[in-house]
Amino acid sequence: MKKGFTCILFLLFFHLGYSQGLKVLGTIKDDVGIPLPGVSVLVKNTIQGTVTNNDGNFVIEVPNTNSVLVISYIGYAQQEISVGNQNNFDIVLKESNTQLNEVVVVGFGTAYRKDMTGSVSKLGAKEFELQPVQSFENAMQGRSAGVFMNSGSGKLGQGLNIRVRGISSVSAGNQPLFVIDGVPVISDALGSGDEPDNPLATIAPEDIESIEVLKDAAASSIYGARASNGVVIVTTKSSKGGKTKVEFGYYGGFSSPTRKREWLNAAEYRELFNYAAKHSDYGELVGSEEFASETGSSDWEKNYDTKWADQAFQNGGVNNAHLSLSGGDSKTSFLLSGSFNNQKGIIIGNSMDRKNIRLNLDHKINKKLKFGTNLSLVRSLNKRVPSDNAFSNPLQLNALPPIQPVRDSATGLLNRNTLYYNNLADVENGNNDALTYRSISSIYGQWDIMDRLSFRSEYGIDWLNLQEEQYLGKLTEDGGPSGYSFSNQVTSLNQNVNNYFTYQQKVNNDLELNATLGMQFNSGETNSTSATGRGFANDRFKKIASSAKITAASSSGTGYAFTSYFARANTKFMDKFLFGISGRVDGSSRFGKDKRWGFFPAVSAGYILSNESFLKENKTINFLKIRGSYGRTGNAEIGNFASRTLWGSEFVGDLAGTVPTQLGVSNLTWENTDQLDLGVEFGLFNDRLSATFDYFEKKTKDLLLDLPIPSANGYTFITKNLGNLSNKGIELTVTSQNLVGKFKWSTTFNISTYKNKITNLNGSTIDGGSRQLGRISEGKPFGYFYGAKYAGVNPDNGNAQYFGIDGKKYDQEDFLSLPDSMQNQVVGDPNPDFFGGMNNHFSYKGVALDIQLQFIYGNDLYNTAGFFQSVNGDYFDNQSKDQLAYWRKPGDVTDIPEPRLYSGNGSMKSSRWVQDGSYLRVKAVTLSYTIPRNWVSSNLKMENLMVYMSAQNLFTFTKYNGYDPEVSTYFGGVNLGHDFYTPPQAKIITFGVNATF
């Protein structure tokens, strides 16, 4: 049946006709005369098109002299040129930052932004190519409307949090689908660490041409069951042919933490803890005695004054070189590139070293057939830092007393009698390396069956091999007493097949049609093998071959597959009415056997008012479009086998037995999201000012929930599609050419919001844990903070006070005797009110200055470590400086309770450590100078030479008093906006040069 249906659809699209060729040539340059490669030249209303080669030349065959060429290029104003009797054109493109004329990659095809009825953010290489971004996704931060990014921590190679239009799931995945050159790639962590690694950090940003984010249903439903969290489409650079061009780029620089914190020095520490001991609830204690008994050291009596917190940091740096060769002839074009990138982190022991090579090749067999390939290979070595929540995390050194020395002065060895583990031993006596080899490669063949119809077939793989090697020596806490070695090998292979037809036709003057029909098959498999050994002769032996005892070993495998069919049709009536319809049928091995296939349709419409006669002559408004879409997408990140009832192995001594491991329901399936999008796009004063505005409403149902069941039957929960949530918000992007002329100044501003609400959780709540405030419950936004509300200090007695839900202040002891229901309340929301960015670009002759701001407003952060580090000397952890303003005598008005050693005055989990996490960041500044062309070509025989300096995270304005407000300690899904000894972001200053030969 399905096959028959396909054929009928296909025949419907079919139109007969031959073309009689007419050859046209031309050269395209910018307004200073530099030839532009890669400019799209299209015969209007057909799919016939070409792009200019490295010399800016193109050759195209047009049907007749009435044909019109459409010339478009990112960052330049689109032009239409009537062919007439001319057959050689010199075309000059004018720069334009407006988005309206750009060509946008939309998944299985491209579209002109002005004709689109969906919502897509686009980021071109130009906007981030001079930035030393750690991983390419970082480039989207503050630049792509609707995309919320939090790097989580300043560690290199760490997983990032990317949320497109809010948070669409509670327990399935929340990261968008990443598609690179048509292949859905591995973006989830594969490593064994507690904190996720980032497989996308292996991709060289220099190789990327554009990053598109499909946001609404009209744009994303073509990815069906995997599109609810948005789809990020990455297109790598390719060559357009022409004479061989060599491009070389290098940058190098240094990095430092965006901020360090202030802690007590030795004198302040002794003062605070003397007071605290004296006023302990356990009687009048003596600070020095208590310290000696807790640490077994007599350091209180000595004269050390150590800045432990600084021990966690090092001077970071970055070196990056990139070389590419591109060119070709009329039949074949190629781009061969290689790069290396070496980043030294700001945290001791942290680094990332990456080497990439790539070959993108296209070849035309004849007028109708072409094929090509994208081949890439990466090697990346990430030296990782322990999890934030580990005693071995270097940031936790800030808890160590300043009165204790780092090293034993007699032996020079690390001090082992510290209050907590002196984890410098992990760096000196251990390593944790994650080595990745990866290839994301594909081949394609394209058959231009007729003028208007083409067929493209693609096969791609994403092959990733991760080798983790960890060694902890005899002197480390976790590796003692005899050494510990862990080895883990993970291989993941993702295979993808796309087959699709594209059809484009102008039926008559009033009707244009554009259609895509195809299928996709995608499968992934992951296999891993690991072993752990203990008992080494000495620390020079690190591999498990040298260990006396294998204490753990394992091998495992998992996989999934999707088979999908998709179709999309867009029409344009009378140049002003736009209609789109798309749909995808997805089947997946992940979905329960009773609900294996899902259908994800979307409809959309647009109305280009500026093409109406009443606006056509308007001098102010040159473009105005309203559009709307509604459709359904799914979230298939539900785990590979969540629907099954399974048995697995458990062991007793040397024997293995079987036990039930999971109770499933056979109709467990994807989560559904229905999304409405309403948008307006306009251009004023001939596109000097343009803007895009979107309102969206996303309603997600069938959320995966673990429904508790009576454990007396042997199972504690069953996973079902039960819950609902919603996200609503707006996105606005405004682009303005403030000054044109010789001195150019343009501004792009974007702002987005999302309002998340959990609407149905079957009455249950999900709590973040005993130290965390995060919570999920009905009627509230995802991850809102819930707990005791701190009310400061009772001026009469120095007791910490908390608000009951009756709004009254209670001293801590009285508060704790209130019933539970009186104690806890909403104390914050980690979701922002709005976020966005602003870019200002100035240029005069060869000098350009680009300033990118990024901001987030209205989100709360919880410093989960406040319980240890800002708790008026409750235990011997070193304290933040602000704790010195503690209550001393009746009448003192302060927020810091009286220090009472061991007594827990103000130490309970509460809003005491909730702070406003809003910030404004000068995210990126680039100053570049392009050396005059004539001088360069005559003196250096170069085509182009540019020098620049660039800075990331240059300044940050925030009230948050932790290290950095861009933080998200990995505590599992519920706890957003938590900070627990998480390293800050890096401020990076680089100097670079780009040369073209």
Partner: protein, 354 residues
């Protein structure tokens, strides 16, 4: 032209129709529940799996040893670790969310459910003797778990009372799907639970073999069932029955005391132990946050000394008593200097539960 259209359509149909069968992907570390209990070998695996659950930290691996110790810890031992759950048990002030209370309950019922599933599938075992043996073993496991549950989660057996107070829910049927696993059952009374325990253990006593060999020596024999019955009788103050049955075990001459007292704990399968679940380097109840060695030991690189033995207890022994000299020691690892229990000193070590 028409031919071309036909060809393209055929090509399309071929491309588009070929991938559906690839959606059948099965897990590699798990099997589907529907094929888990198909024959005698599967049933045997499930029985061993039940022991594996018993071996975990929620049951005999930690809690069924440690929790009763802490409940009666006055003048004997002290929990001084960071885990609030054990501290609450020691202080006899447990909150509703006590992690030990919930994990022991869940694991015991998980084991009971596997036993129930085995009993429901005994017809798959063709050999009648083997079927009887398996039935006895499943009932032993179920009876043992109900015995542990009733002692921890209900009031003690009252020798003179009616024992009709709330016990624990008696679940005797297999649950294996949403419907059976969602059944809500209230607590049966104490009397009913003890009756069930006695029935299960007596069936076990009758059907279990005299011995198991080699690595299977952890499996219950008829003597294990008898020994558990002795404990049940003692709990019920049925001293005569307890005495008679205990004597039967002794008189069988299958077991004898070890010459060195510590050997019972440090050596594998000595003649003194009636039931023994043992660890090895890979399979043990835990090396950092669970397991008896983790909590009890204070040796170089081993254990965290969360429990120490108090002087009023050690003072009761003569200085030369082996129970003092062999089963306690002064800690030399974490929290060194205090008196530690000497039964659990290595992660890969076994422990006995009877």
């Amino acid at each position: 032209m028409r031919n071309k259209i036909y060809l393209i359509s055929l090509f399309t149909a071929f491309l588009f129709g070929s991938c559906v069968k690839n959606l059948d992907i099965n897990p590699e570390q798990n099997i589907d529940a529907s094929v888990a209990l198909e024959n005698a070998e599967d049933i045997r695996s499930a029985l061993i799996g039940t022991y594996a659950i018993l071996h975990g930290g929620a049951l005999y691996g930690t809690n069924l040893n440690l929790v009763p110790e802490l409940m009666g810890s006055e003048d004997y031992c002290q929990w001084r670790g960071t885990f609030q759950s054990f501290r609450q048990i020691m202080n006899k002030g447990m909150y509703v969310d006590n992690a030990e209370a919930s994990r022991t309950w869940i694991a015991a019922y998980r084991a009971i459910n596997v036993s129930n599933n085995i009993i429901a599938n005994l017809n798959k075992v063709e050999d009648e003797d083997l079927r009887k043996e398996f039935e006895g073993e499943a009932k032993f496991l179920r009876g043992a778990m109900y015995f542990e549950l009733i002692r921890l989660y209900a009031k003690p057996w009252d020798n003179t009372g009616t024992n009709d107070g709330a016990g624990v829910p008696l679940i005797l049927t297999a649950s294996n799907d949403e419907t059976t696993a969602s059944v809500k059952k209230g607590r049966d009374n104490i009397n009913a639970v003890y009756t069930q325990i006695l029935n299960d253990l007596k069936d076990a006593e009758k059907n279990l073999p005299e011995s198991f060999d080699g690595s299977e020596r952890f499996r219950a024999t008829t003597y294990t069932a008898k020994a558990f019955l002795v404990r049940v009788y003692l709990q019920q103050s049925k001293f005569a029955e307890a005495l008679a049955l205990a004597n039967e075990i002794i008189e069988s001459k299958v077991f004898r005391l070890n010459p060195a007292i510590a050997a019972t704990f440090s050596n594998k399968f000595t003649n003194e132990t009636i039931m023994e679940l043992y660890n090895n380097d890979q399979n043990n109840a835990g090396e950092s946050n669970d397991g008896l060695t983790t909590f009890y030991a204070s040796l170089s690189g081993i254990g965290r000394s969360d429990i120490r033995i108090l002087a009023p207890f050690t003072d009761k022994y003569e200085a030369t008593d082996e129970r003092l000299t062999e089963l306690t020691y002064e800690g030399v690892g974490r929290r060194s200097g205090s008196t530690q229990c000497g039964k659990w000193k290595a992660y890969g070590q076994k422990y006995s539960c009877n």
